[in-house]
Each structure stands twice: as structure tokens, then as C-alpha cells.
Symmetry: C2
């Protein structure tokens, strides 16, 4: 693991690191905030998955998570959103596909299958590295994210309820297999057989029996992607006859930006800290 | 005034605006955060001056001021650091001179004198526009900034003690007329006569009789510019035999970055709010 930068912040350390990824067959970069409490003891770890077009850097600069993470003693890991590098396939003029749009799935179709294995990267390879390199308590993990990363957080939690104690999302794509901006990527990554898409779709996962105790979702009413891309009401419907809990909060005048994310970041960190102990 | 963007954040509004500047003879961009309390009444205004290479955008994205500004009801104005545009002279390979390095002074030398009039812009033109366009209480103004912007805040406060009730700085350049990274710019903007430099130098201003009630200065001990550029001890010396108050806090392990600024942002906003009433 290479150290790209380390800066003191809020009594802790915001670092950026790179490593050669076996899962994605390229160098991957990620950010970790270590709170001051980690000097004394292992601390809970919270995974933040970013949205389309982002790298690890956007939320690190604009998410405003460090003050409260330092107060609550949470380690925050912010991975990249796709494989990177000159040898990684891409659609240069399409921001909803390829680099910056890994969709937190393992692609099965060419030319994507070789590198686009973000599900394995986020659930296996990166946790192993983080467990080895930082003072994390891997028995206390939570996961959250924004937009495409909200989709990633919810599907990963639903598929791994034994591993995560908490999950939340800012403006998540709750049904990517039918959403305007994700259908094309799902078809290219996973092929035309829509049955294969269901394991990466929060609503379909619930319909197929996946369970997680409860979710917090914040959503802006002025989000321009609400009607065609996000549609949290579909998840509300999906869980209706289950024991899954959902705290869905709609916020008037808020859009899809980091101004929205940063406004409700403290609430999400508290939500996780309460469940991570 | 053109609206470039407006986003809801922390119950208030973060906007970015542009206007044709008479002082700088170019279009100028600035950011304003309006807290929710401004719906009801005029609120105090706090001017944030940024450092070398920055625009209005850096602190807007990375300064983490909105949460506390919304709580305290402060309007935060973040101007650009220099004139901009293709017709504005610059030294393209020198980040300490020209665009992004206006030094908050009125240049008197060619080719700079035409556009580089940031002192007049910050103290006259922009306040008039802000007073007209936003619900500000111009009887309650504070000023703060970082690095070159800390220099700007301190010199502007010392020259206008009747206008500002509060001043603070993150890692300010307290004596730019003798600092490694500012001497060259001072000579180019103001000419070789160093007597002319004194009105834009906090230490020299105090020596020449300028007064301001008190300053808060935060400074990181791991700041790589500390020894040759910033040197807050020079200001400590400069005010020794005066009534000027100084709360100078050194912070181990902190550097010159926005990680440092954001960590102590809340303290600065409280410092100003206490003095702005």
C-alpha cells in the first residue's frame, strides 16, 4: 500500500492510499479518515460509496464527515467508483458507463469482465487490506453512500447482513435495473438476461428474499434525478410486506449535490454510530 | 449581478454570483452563503479572503463553514483572490504573482495597475453590491481569511477598524513585505519604494499606528510555509507595546491545507459571532 497523502484533521488523520488490486487488475486509490480514538483502540469502520463520475476525492473534500467522525470515533473509508488506468476499457463520452460508473457489481461481459469487479473489490479485497493496515474493528462495520453509491451500499448490505450492522443512503438508486440512467450499464456489464441483474438491485433483492434490519434514506425533493433515476418510493413498496425498517426523509428544496449530502452527513454518522456501538 | 448557481444547504442557500467590476475592470465571481435566519431579518456578514492560487470556490467546497454559519445566522461572503479573464495581465508560470495572487492591494505599477485593485474591490465595490443584493446588516461585519487572505483580513481590519467588529486568520502572512513568497509581488505591484508597501503589511501598519481591538490566529506547526512565509511571532512582537489583543494558537501536526482550516472553522465562526452580536 502506497501513501499518497496524509493530513491532520479534527485531531485525526485523513489519508489517501493506493494499491495494486487483484480484483480490478489495476492500481486503485482510496481515502481513509482515522479518528483520534484509534490511537487507543480499534474503532468501527464505515464504508462510504460515491456516486457516478466521482472518485474517492469528492466526498473527502466536500462531504464534511470528519468533524462528526472524529467526535464519534468512526473510521471512514471512501473507495473509488470504478477501476482506473489507461488499460481499463471505458466509454469516453458516456458518464453513466465505464470509468466512474462501476455500479458496485462484478461484470460478466466483455470487455468489462476483466477489470469491472467492484463488488468483489468492495466486499473482499479492500476490507482485507483495510483490516490489515488500520486499527479497525471489523465486527463493527456500517455502509452508506450517495446515488449510485447508495445503490451499492443498499445492495451490499442486503447481500451481507451478517457483516454490516448499519446501512444508510443519500438519494440512492433503489431499482437500477429499471432506472433511466443505469439500464444501459447493467446490460453492458451483465448481459441481456435481466434475471442476472436482480442481485444488484435493492428492490429485486428484497423481492427475492434478501433482508436487512433497517435503512435510513435522505432524499431531496428538488433532485433532478428523483423521478427517473432514484424513485425511493419503489423501495418503500418493495419492503411493504417485510420486517425491513425504513426511515425515508424527503427534504424540500434540496438537490443531488454535495450541499445536500453535507447537510445530512451528521445525521447519517449518528445513525451508524448508534448501531455500531 | 448574474446568478451562476444556488444550492440549498443546512437550511440556507449557497450561491455563486458574477458581476462586472469597475474596480478590477473585468467580470468577478464570488460566493455567498445565506443562513436560514436571513428570511426573517438582516444578519451579520463575515468576509472570508482566500489564499494564493484559490478562487471563491476552494473554501466554498472545502472550508466546512455552512453548518455553523447556519446555526449562528452568519452571512458568509467569499470573493475571488484576483481579477480574472483573458485581458488581465498575468505571469503564467508564477503562482505567487498575477491571477490568484492579488494580495488584497491596489497596484500602482504597469501592467498591473489597471486591473489589480483588490483592496478597492473588497472594501468598496463588493460591499456595496452585497449590501444591495442580500439581507445583510452592514453595521455588523467581520473579516477573516487564510494565508494571503489572512494578510488581507488583518490589513483591511487594521485600516478600517470602524467598519469591522471582528477579525481572525488561519495561518496569515503577517509581514508580506519581508516574506519569501510575497516580496516579489509587492515590488511588481507597488514599485521599489518600500515605504509604499507598509500600508499593506500588518506588522508595519501596527508600527505606523494602526489599531484593531483583537485578533484570533490559528497556525499549524507542521505548516511548510511557517518559517519563511507566515511567521506569526512577528505580529506578536509588533503588537507588544500596544493595546491590541492577540489569541495566537499553535497546533501541532497541522499543515497549511483546508484540512487545517476546516478543523478550526467552527472556532472562528464563534469568535466572530460573539463579537458581531
Amino acid at each position: 500500500m502506497k501513501i499518497l497523502s496524509q493530513n491532520t484533521a479534527f485531531g485525526g488523520m485523513q489519508g489517501v492510499f493506493a494499491h495494486d488490486s487483484d480484483a480490478c487488475k489495476c492500481e486503485m486509490t482510496f481515502a481513509v479518515f482515522v479518528p483520534p480514538q484509534a490511537v487507543l483502540e480499534r474503532r468501527p469502520v464505515l464504508w462510504y460509496l460515491s456516486g457516478l463520475t466521482c472518485t474517492h476525492q469528492n466526498v473527502m473534500e466536500k462531504g464534511e464527515y470528519r468533524r462528526m467522525a472524529a467526535e464519534l470515533g468512526l473510521i471512514i473509508v471512501c473507495p473509488d467508483t470504478s477501476p482506473r488506468g489507461n488499460d481499463v476499457p471505458d466509454e469516453l463520452t458516456n458518464w453513466k458507463m465505464g470509468k466512474g460508473a462501476g455500479m458496485y457489481l462484478d461484470a460478466t461481459q466483455e470487455p468489462w469482465a476483466e477489470n469491472y469487479r467492484m463488488y468483489t473489490y468492495i466486499t473482499e479485497e479492500l476490507p482485507a487490506l483495510v483490516a490489515e493496515q488500520f486499527r479497525v474493528d471489523m465486527d463493527r462495520q456500517g455502509i452508506f453512500g450517495h446515488s449510485m453509491g447508495g445503490h451499492g451500499a443498499m445492495t451490499i448490505a442486503l447481500k451481507n447482513p451478517e457483516r454490516f450492522r448499519s446501512c444508510s443512503a443519500f438519494a440512492p438508486i433503489v431499482e437500477p435495473s429499471t432506472a433511466d440512467w443505469t439500464v444501459d450499464a447493467f446490460e453492458k456489464y451483465l448481459g441481456p438476461d435481466k434475471a442476472k441483474w436482480r442481485e444488484y438491485d435493492a428492490c429485486a433483492l428484497v423481492a427475492d428474499g434478501a433482508r436487512f434490519p433497517e435503512f435510513l434514506i435522505d432524499q431531496g425533493s428538488a433532485d433532478s434525478f428523483l423521478e427517473n433515476g432514484l424513485r425511493p418510493w419503489l423501495f418503500e413498496d418493495a419492503i411493504k410486506d417485510t420486517e425491513i425498517g425504513l426511515r425515508l426523509r424527503m427534504h424540500e428544496r434540496y438537490d443531488h449535490s454535495y450541499y445536500f449530502i453535507s447537510t445530512f452527513m451528521d445525521d447519517h454518522l449518528r445513525w451508524h454510530a448508534e448501531r455500531l456501538g
